[in-house]
């Protein structure tokens, strides 16, 4: 089920009403579990078995780890969980990629082999829920968390519908206890949840889907476009992916708040970042901190010499890229970010920007604007690899940008709609700049205003979305990961 569908517009109020009619914790968890399975099964009910399997494995293993005192047995069990989860992910997401590359490698060695490809459907959200359950089991192994005894609550934690298919990837330590705590309806929390949902819908439907029209047209046929049009297409893709994914996260977090759950912030206005290190503290926070806690730190983190730290940074960026998909484009994307990051690390400037940009001022300074633009351009360059079908296509695209035609006016099919899209991006940027100290664009905006004025602002956001959204229900980009 898509958030931006009429099905969800009916589903959510029904589940919300039933949820708060049930007073008992067990009943609420059971309802969340059934609703989550319904939400997921709406797409393809066959893959519910996979979620159930992943849930059962980690439930059994985590309890078994807790019951064993010997470190050797505990290690074996956590290894089993990692193997099961990564095995499932590997099979569904990477099987054909590895077959492809094995064949290429053997061909290069002069020993061509033919291996069997399989027609595998990638289950939506598998990268997200396997990482969530994996972190839970590792936390139990590390004794940071007691294992869940209540299977229903644990299964609801794994499959919680607002964040099941595209995150935020929650940690057991933070999120699981919420399934065991008595939840009461909170007016401020629910209202802020609705505000966050509204902003998420705007970013998805008015920004991302409109940017997609042009970005797709340009990326699908880069040879037919001038350098400036290619550059414009790349910039639009940067806003498309931001609007799409942060929009999804806002809707997920807002929806969870309606049910009394707090999910972690996943995006903190990343395009206001002043360097790449800050960008990675603000972009897909739940994934980058996951890799930090479960890959980077176990590898040694910032301990050791310069080269060891550099190695760790490269590993984490490459793994992060590979997590996104079975394609060399994602690996190159990760590699590029590592290359952007390493100079900051070596000069010890990777923690230079930990505050909010332009704090205490209405507008950023010229220096900040320059830094933000520079960071945005670097991320946009990397997005070309993320979006392109192959590394060759991405290189071809970038080659096309750096052409004398870069200085010409971009050519678009419908200039009026393109201009509208740019205006919508400007509107989003202004709102997010004003609201950059909050968890989402609308969190603090207008809270001091009289209610009619504040409500008018929300209604205007709804109106702009209604007038400028694309009319087809388009899936979220991160569903494919």
């Amino acid at each position: 089920m898509l958030f931006n569908s009429l099905d969800f517009a009916i589903f959510l109020p029904v589940v919300f009403a039933l949820y708060w009619l049930i007073r008992g914790l067990k009943g609420q968890n059971a309802l969340l579990l059934v609703s989550s399975y319904l939400f997921y099964g709406w797409w393809d009910y066959r893959f519910l078995a996979l979620i159930l399997l992943s849930t059962a494995i980690d439930y059994v293993i985590s309890n078994a780890i807790h019951g064993h005192v010997k470190q050797h047995s505990r290690k074996l069990l956590v290894g089993l969980s990692i193997a099961a989860n990564i095995g499932m992910l590997g099979f569904f997401k990477y099987y054909n990629f590895f077959i492809d590359n094995f064949q290429d490698a053997f061909s290069l060695l002069g020993e061509p082999v033919t291996l069997r490809y399989m027609d595998i459907i990638l289950p939506v959200g598998i990268s997200f829920y396997t990482f969530q359950t994996l972190s839970y089991t590792i936390d139990v192994y590390r004794k940071h968390l007691e294992p869940a005894k209540d299977f229903i609550a644990f299964a609801a934690f794994v499959s919680f519908f607002p964040q099941l298919v595209a995150g935020p990837i929650e940690r057991g330590q933070r999120f699981l206890p919420q399934f065991f705590a008595y939840r009461t309806f909170s007016y401020p929390m629910a209202v802020d949840g609705l505000r966050q949902m509204l902003w998420g819908f705007f970013k998805k439907m008015a920004i991302a889907d409109n940017c997609a029209v042009y970005a797709n047209a340009v990326f699908d046929n880069p040879d037919a476009h001038s350098g400036s049009t290619l550059a414009f297409g790349a910039v639009l893709f940067a806003f498309q992916i931001y609007g799409d994914f942060s929009g999804y996260s806002d809707i997920a977090i807002g929806t969870a708040r309606l049910f009394g759950f707090n999910l972690m912030q996943n995006f903190a206005f990343p395009y206001f970042s002043r360097d790449i290190a800050e960008f990675w503290r603000r972009w897909h926070i739940s994934l980058s901190t996951w890799f930090r806690d479960y890959v980077y730190i176990p590898l040694g983190g910032n301990r050791g010499g310069r080269w060891k730290i550099t190695r760790n940074v490269f590993i984490i960026f490459l793994v992060s890229g590979f997590w996104h998909g079975a394609n060399w484009t994602f690996i190159v994307w990760g590699l590029l970010h590592a290359l952007f990051f390493i100079p900051l690390l070596w000069t010890n400037r990777h923690k230079k920007y930990t505050d909010t940009p332009g704090i205490g001022r209405a507008l950023p300074s010229v220096r900040e604007v320059t830094a933000m633009l520079g960071t945005f351009l670097l991320t946009t360059l990397a997005w070309v690899f993320f979006r392109a079908a192959s590394v060759g296509d991405a290189l071809n695209y970038i080659d096309g940008i750096f052409d004398p035609s870069l200085l010409s006016m971009p050519v678009v099919v419908d200039p009026a709609v393109a201009l509208l899209t740019v205006l919508l991006i400007c509107f989003m940027t202004v709102v997010e700049w004003i609201g950059r100290t909050g968890n989402h664009g609308l969190e603090h905006l207008g809270l001091q205003w009289p209610r009619p004025l504040r409500w008018t602002m929300y209604a205007v956001v709804i109106f702009i979305t209604g007038l400028y959204m694309q009319t087809d229900e388009t899936p979220f980009i991160y569903f494919q990961f």
Partner: protein, 327 residues
């Protein structure tokens, strides 16, 4: 129930109250902004509000004329292939009173609705239902917008628009409602001549002295039929059968350049033949792409004459029109 009330009375009451109030407030603001946008903004600045009172295709004039028409012999209904392809004067010349209720991009969903609204009043002896593959693969949004912009809101039209689940249709529906109340001028007539088009009384839109340029790009037609369109087509047939009204399914000619791109046209012919008497006029030998069409799928006036003569001949030959009924 007691529990329900207790929850709604205490912990959630302000939330539910404010949700309802905000819903009403936002609805009013939305309508006001929509009205201002429709009245002031050019079409290109309001992509999801494509309302234009007098759109191309003359649906406004046609619907207004249909409201004043009754007791006809032949009703032609369908897409632009119908209203640009069947000149009711050709039927009148043979002594039949005909009316063309085609409209832009009309799909069986809209044809069904229009027949529900007009069949009794027009009381035709024969319904010529124009069909072609693309009309079964379209979602019907364009046609709904055309009709919402061209006719007063009625129950069936609102029902159809709501079923469309499309932001453009919903916005146009809202705007058309407000426009009808606040701005509609009964006395305002649509100009019968628009661009190269001339509206002819009886519903036909004539395009003279314009010719298809074979250098122009011809798009690939979509041949994935929508279930809801096939269901609507079957509903039309059932309705006509129940009313004992004779009907014929007709595929109007398109250019060879376009017809050659159709995916498996024989399969479409078979599907239509299963539903009743069906004629496909794409094999008319007298028609030439560059002489009888003004674009890749619309006949010009010369082509319409050729097609209509063949159509009337076929109807007579198959006993769907009777010479004795000549006036």
């Amino acid at each position: 129930m007691k529990r329900l009330l207790s929850i709604f009375n205490f912990s959630m009451r302000p939330f539910l109250k404010n949700i309802i109030l905000f819903g009403l407030f936002a609805g009013i603001v939305y309508c006001i902004l929509l009205f201002i946008s429709g009245a002031l903004l050019p079409l290109m600045w309001r992509p999801n509000l494509p309302f234009v009172e007098h759109r191309s295709g003359h649906s406004y004039s046609r619907i207004a004329e249909a409201d004043q028409t009754g007791n006809i012999d032949v009703l032609i209904i369908g897409s632009s292939h119908a209203y640009r392809g069947v000149d009711t004067r050709n039927f009148e010349a043979e002594g039949y009173k005909a009316f063309n209720l085609g409209s832009s991009a009309q799909t069986p969903m809209q044809s069904n609705m229009l027949l529900e609204m007009y069949a009794e009043q027009l009381d035709p002896e024969l319904v010529v239902l124009e069909v072609f593959p693309s009309s079964l693969s379209m979602d019907g949004v364009e046609s709904s917008i055309d009709l919402l912009s061209s006719m007063p809101l009625r129950g069936q039209l609102i029902e159809l628009a709501l079923a469309q689940k499309n932001a453009q249709v919903y916005n146009t529906l809202l705007y058309a409602g407000m426009y009808g109340i606040l701005m509609h001028d009964e006395g305002k007539k649509e100009d019968p001549r628009k661009g190269g088009d001339m509206y002819i009384s009886g519903g036909y839109v004539e395009r003279k002295d314009a010719f298809f340029d074979p250098e122009n790009e011809v798009p690939q037609p979509d041949s994935t039929y929508r279930k809801e369109q096939l269901e609507s087509l079957d509903a039309i047939i059932e309705m006509l059968n129940n009313a004992n009204t004779e009907y014929v399914l007709v595929q109007a000619p398109v250019t060879d350049a376009f017809y050659e791109l159709y995916h498996n046209p024989d399969s479409f012919d078979m599907d239509m033949m299963e539903r009743g008497m069906y004629f496909n006029f794409n094999d008319l030998p007298s028609l030439r792409d560059t002489l009888h069409f003004y674009d890749y799928h619309h006949l010009n006036a010369a082509g319409v004459k050729e097609f209509n003569d063949a159509l009337i001949d076929s109807l007579l030959a198959h006993g769907l029109l009777y010479p004795k009924r000549q006036l």
